[in-house]
């Protein structure tokens, strides 16, 4: 509870109750914004790996498979440690509820993680090629939902800046995760072998920036939390790093390994910062009753 900050007991302002939040702030820990990033990275890497396999780019396919594996292994660890009762993480798989993006996501992560791990193990042991192929397909198919569902998870809340961003947020996440996957592969491959991934990284980064811009524009006054306080700082870092990285990759990524590494790292950092910005903006908007009230008042006016 916060100490009294109003000037009198009379200070119940006309549009709030002593300035207290209407919503409860999400209790999620830093694991969640990290997961938003790793989940996206893992999912998009699965897609990238499969696409590369189809196109015959075995090296890219293999690299992305392992990037995906890393993401798939880190993500559940992040999620489990975020739980209030980590020992009960298996309860996530107790039911399947389409009304709960978290339930759906848990199953996607379970499927995707299992497939990617199977594929990677087969690949490493060079055995069971059919199983590996099947696993790669599952991993690739489940990768896109894995990358995107977290946007739905955030949107499916009463948090104004998340819920109102529901039309753009999946695209922001899709583009961003593509950029991450591309950047991660680019980071690990010599420039020569990273042409596709480099292009994906640049395209994803630019698409992501565009979608974010469009999102903020449509959010109107609800864009404020994205631009203020911690969320604002993360947002500025994200934009700067992503655009700088994309620019570097586009200009010199094909020629210079250090440039490719730096550019890729910048994009990855930018994408991570963007997830943090979105996360923090949600907390900030939940904390301030004004966003909830203004949004709903506007809706009531429009519905009249």
């Amino acid at each position: 509870m916060t100490p009294p900050d109003s000037r009198s007991a009379h200070a119940a302002t006309p549009d709030s109750y002593y300035g207290r939040p209407i919503l409860k702030e999400p209790v999620w820990k830093p694991q969640i914004p990290f997961y938003l990033f790793t989940g996206g990275l893992a999912g998009a890497s699965g897609v990238l790996s499969l696409a590369a396999r189809i196109s015959g780019d075995q090296r890219l396919a293999r690299t992305s498979l392992y990037v995906g594996l890393a993401g798939e292994l880190v993500s559940p660890a992040l999620l489990v440690t975020d739980l209030g009762r980590p020992e009960r993480f298996l309860n996530m798989l107790r039911v399947f509820k389409v009304t709960s993006p978290m339930s759906v996501g848990s199953w996607i992560l379970f499927a995707s993680g299992g497939a990617t791990t199977t594929a990677a193990v087969c690949d490493k042991l060079a055995r069971l090629p059919r199983a590996k192929r099947a696993a790669e397909i599952v991993s690739g198919v489940s990768g896109a939902p894995l990358a995107v569902y977290t946007a739905t998870l955030l949107s499916d809340t009463a948090v104004p800046v998340w819920h109102e961003a529901r039309r753009e947020l999946p695209f922001v996440f899709a583009a961003g995760s593509a950029a991450s996957a591309g950047a991660a592969a680019t980071l690990l491959l010599p420039p020569r072998a990273a042409r596709s991934s480099r292009r994906l990284a640049v395209a994803g980064a630019l698409a992501g920036e565009c979608m974010t811009f469009a999102m903020l524009r449509r959010l109107d006054f609800l864009a404020e939390p994205y631009q203020q306080a911690e969320a604002g700082t993360y947002k500025r870092v994200a934009t700067a790093a992503t655009l700088a990285g994309a620019s570097l990759l586009a200009r010199r990524g094909g020629r210079s390994r250090p440039s490719a590494v730096t550019g890729s790292a910048l994009i990855l950092a930018g994408e991570l910062a963007l997830r943090w910005s979105i996360f923090k903006a949600g907390l900030q908007s939940a904390r301030d009753p004004d966003y909830t009230v203004r949004l709903q008042r506007r809706r009531l006016r429009q519905n009249q």
Binding site: S6, R7, H10
Partner: protein, 847 residues
């Protein structure tokens, strides 16, 4: 008025809300806007301590505009009675009544009597602090004066005689005009008139109005007269003894009513019998003769007194030895708690037993209580948890300031954990005089024991120790009837057996069923005559729990038991007109049924069942027979409601507005500033803030309770669920005062009087409003008083600020209106605190 019922009596307040929903007008007149105000139809904010002016204004409004209920007033009140020619009113004597003796600072009430009557006060000490002995007794339920035949000698039914009560009343209240009220109370004329008009238009044959009050009225140096003013108003409006009428005292504890009926009070015995006074009575017969009244139910005083003595001393009480009347100790001075504490401070009290009370927080001038307790030889405290009273020697405020040192306090303190009401059985008597039995839900935990257990076994052990004593003084204790069945592993005495003794037994050892059966020849026993019948037929009537929806009448007579005789409404004969017919169909309650020749109705009639409305007492009739058939007030010797009190009060037969002891204003009505007869202790330990506006203590302060805490907090500050709802001591100030004194909402402030200073969090709120008194702006400060040094939530005690200035009739302290200063910031700690208080007293601190 004088009550914040919604917050302090929330369970009873549901019926107020219910009445409002059915169209009743609810008016709240109080210095503070509270939850009661929030639910009322109208709130009027007045200055604390100005209620008599407000009520007096209503009385004047009723009289001036002839809004009184004439038929009721003429027949049922003493309005037509003529007063003695030597009576002088405050109108004549600048705010004093006749009989004032400036030497002793007391009144001689001789001149206040009815014309031609000899109703002199009983003999007894007249020294300061113990004025008329009778006054004390009557403060708790007046006995009438010697009067037979039921009629006073002279009356004027036309109400025209200038010496009749009605005309005296009219002249007395004439100066309480709406303008004067507005100036004294700080409200507007319109607010006042709206209240007066609402009351008048809701009274009469078809309608009635009720007044609820609590300690907001009693805790003043003129507290009794506050209630008297309301009584005058209600009698004029015809609102007494009728359904929906009355003056309802809301009591502050589960059984405050019970603890005056069966008193743990010094000046009365059970059933409001007078405690005998030193040298006043030659023998029992003299005692009875002096205290009984010729007419009315007090004529049977002897039966009540003898039955009590029989209950106390059983077979040892015989007609030959005056039923052990000599065993009763005698009083000759004020032995009320505040006087007792002053004596304690002076060292004459050796031992002190405190049960279920926390004077170190809850009593006015709590600091003096703690200093006094440090001078005891021993102290026994029984409570649910360790409270400030039992730990004053360890962590009291005076330890912090160095005024007391733990190592130097010689008091031996015993703390005994007590059982709560759910851990024992017994009866409580509530505001409505309803005795309700509560059952034991669980056994007391650990060493907790009921107070019944404590006193029974204490008495048993003392009797054991003294059983071979040859001292004459030990006879009363050795011969006391003291055998109650005990049960269980803890030898818990039977509360039911005690209740049976209270109810009383006939000679054949059968439970009595009514106080009418009591005899003065020693053949009956009864521990409290007004409770006689609570175990009629050997059945615990107080334990009846039949809900009202299973009963025919809304009065629900089969729920618990009300004294006397299960009557729910006293003086209910007044609900019918002089001929015995209901005043109106709508307000039918008790009426004369000619075919059966009896009084009947939805309640037990408070009248001789078969006494016809046209009964006229024969000459020489005594007791109830001396009350006429059209006089409902059967406890009064004249059978009438007293607009004017010829006898029984020590500070005047009529109420007059006096300022509190500490007030920033002069008296708007009289040159006499405060109640001249108020009780003071002029000694260095009890300094008073100077009256008037000299700048040192410019604000009016009033104390109050919160719903979430129980009085001194012993039962609530230790309970996390309650403690979290009101965790800190705070002080209410208006935004204007906050600005004036630089107080910030949520910050700390120090409230200071000449006695000490306390700190509290600042609550800036418009619930306390500044008032205009003829151009003077007076700010008020509100202080809840629940906190102390123990419990989950701690804080300074508001009662440390107040002094000992008492109502002379009932010795109740004035804490609802005194003066203070308030300054931003926390108070100084340790020895710096008394120094700070001293500097302010000397005007050495800039405000």
């Amino acid at each position: 008025m004088g009550s914040n019922m919604a917050e302090n009596h929330p369970v009873g307040f549901q019926w107020v809300v219910e009445a409002r929903e059915r169209g009743a007008q609810v008016i709240h007149v109080d210095p503070r806007f509270t939850r009661t105000s929030a639910l009322a139809s109208q709130w009027v904010g007045i200055r604390a301590g100005s209620d008599i002016a407000f009520l007096g204004g209503i009385v004047n409004y009723i009289l001036e505009n002839e809004r009184y209920f004439l038929e009721y007033v003429v027949n049922y009140t003493n309005a037509p009675i003529l007063l003695r020619d030597d009576f002088r009113d405050t109108e004549d004597l600048d705010g004093l009544f006749s009989g004032w003796d400036p030497e002793t600072e007391t009144y001689d009430p001789e001149s206040w009597q009815y014309r031609g009557m000899d109703m002199h006060a009983a003999s007894g000490g007249r020294e300061r602090g113990f004025t008329q002995v009778k006054g004390h007794a009557t403060g708790h339920g007046g006995h009438g004066a010697a009067l037979s035949g039921g009629e006073p000698p002279e009356e004027d039914p036309t109400l025209q005689n200038p010496r009749c009560v009605f005309q005296v009343l009219k002249r007395h209240f004439a100066r309480y005009t709406p303008d004067a009220v507005a100036e004294a109370c700080g409200c507007t004329v319109a607010e006042f008139v709206a209240v007066a008009e609402t009351l008048c238009s809701n009274s009469g044959r078809e309608r009635t109005g009720a007044v609820c009050y609590a300690v907001g009225w009693t805790q003043h140096t003129v507290g009794v007269q506050y209630i008297r003013t309301a009584a005058i108003m209600q009698l004029l409006l015809g609102n007494i003894g009728r359904p929906g009428g009355g003056i309802l005292a809301l009591r502050g504890h589960a059984s405050i009513q019970g603890s005056t009926d069966i008193p743990t009070l010094y000046d009365i015995l059970p059933g409001y019998l007078t405690m005998p006074h030193v040298g006043a009575y030659d023998d029992l017969a003299h005692y009875i003769e002096s205290n009984k009244s010729g007419a009315g139910w007090w004529a049977n005083f002897g039966s009540y007194a003898v039955s009590l003595l029989k209950a106390y001393w059983g077979e040892h009480a015989t007609a030959q030895n005056d039923f052990c009347f000599d065993y009763l100790p005698r009083i000759d001075q004020d032995n009320s708690i505040y006087k007792c504490v002053v004596d304690m401070f002076d060292g004459s009290v050796k031992g002190f037993i405190v049960v279920g009370e926390n004077p170190a927080v809850g009593s006015s001038h709590a600091k003096l209580h703690r200093l006094a307790m440090a001078k005891l030889d021993w102290l026994v405290v029984r409570d649910l948890v360790d409270i400030e009273t039992s730990s004053f020697w360890l962590d009291g405020p005076e330890i912090e300031t160095g005024e007391l040192k733990t190592a130097e306090i010689a008091t031996e303190v015993f703390f005994l954990p007590a059982a709560s009401h759910v851990e024992k059985e017994g009866s409580f008597t509530n505001t409505q005089r309803l005795l309700q039995w509560h059952h034991k839900a669980v056994e007391p935990a650990g060493d907790c024991r009921s107070d019944l257990w404590f006193y029974y076994h204490l008495g048993r052990i003392i009797r054991e120790k003294l059983k071979d004593s040859t001292e004459e003084r030990d006879l009363p204790i050795r011969r006391l009837t003291w055998s109650y069945p005990v049960a269980g592993a803890q030898s818990e005495p039977s509360a039911d057996a005690v209740l049976a003794e209270i109810n009383g037994w006939s000679q054949k050892n059968e439970p009595l069923s009514s106080y009418k059966e009591l005899k003065d020849d020693g053949s009956t026993t009864c521990g409290c005559w007004i409770y006689c019948g609570v175990r009629a037929d050997g059945v615990n009537q107080a334990a009846r729990k039949k809900p009202h929806w299973e009963q025919d009448d809304y009065t629900a007579l089969e729920w618990a038991w009300a004294w006397p005789a299960n009557r729910r409404l006293l003086y209910n004969r007044a609900s019918a007109d002089p001929d015995g017919k209901p005043w109106s169909e709508r307000k039918r309650y008790v009426w004369w049924d000619e075919p059966s020749g009896k009084w009947t109705g939805v309640d037990v009639p408070d009248f001789d069942e078969a006494k016809r409305p046209d009964y006229v007492p024969p000459d020489g009739a005594e007791g109830p027979e001396a009350i006429a058939g059209n006089h409902p007030f059967i406890m009064q010797a004249d059978g009438r409601g007293w607009l004017y009190v010829p006898h029984g009060l020590v500070d005047g037969p009529l109420p007059a507005h006096y300022e509190p002891q500490e007030s920033p204003l002069r008296n708007r009505f009289y040159p006499q500033r405060s109640n001249p007869a108020r009780e003071r202790y002029d000694r260095p330990e009890n300094p008073a803030n100077p009256p008037g506006q000299d700048g040192r203590y410019p604000f009016v302060v009033t104390t109050y309770r919160l719903t979430e805490h129980h009085t001194a907090g012993g039962m609530s500050r230790s309970v996390p669920y309650l403690a979290e709802l009101q965790p800190e001591m705070f002080v209410e100030v208006h935004p204007e005062l906050a600005k004036l004194r630089g107080l910030e909402h949520g910050d700390w402030a120090t409230v200071v009087t000449t006695r000490t200073a306390i700190e509290a969090r600042v609550m800036v709120t418009e619930r306390v409003k500044p008032l205009d008194h003829g151009g003077r702006r007076v700010h008020q400060v509100g202080l809840p008083y629940h906190w102390g040094s123990k419990g989950l939530v701690t804080g300074d005690s508001a009662n440390d600020l107040s002094g000992l200035f008492l109502d002379p009739n009932v010795h109740i302290q004035e804490v609802k209106a005194f003066t203070c200063d308030i300054r931003p910031g926390r108070r100084p700690r340790g020895a710096a605190l008394p120094a700070y208080v001293e500097r302010i007293r000397n005007g050495k601190v800039e405000s």
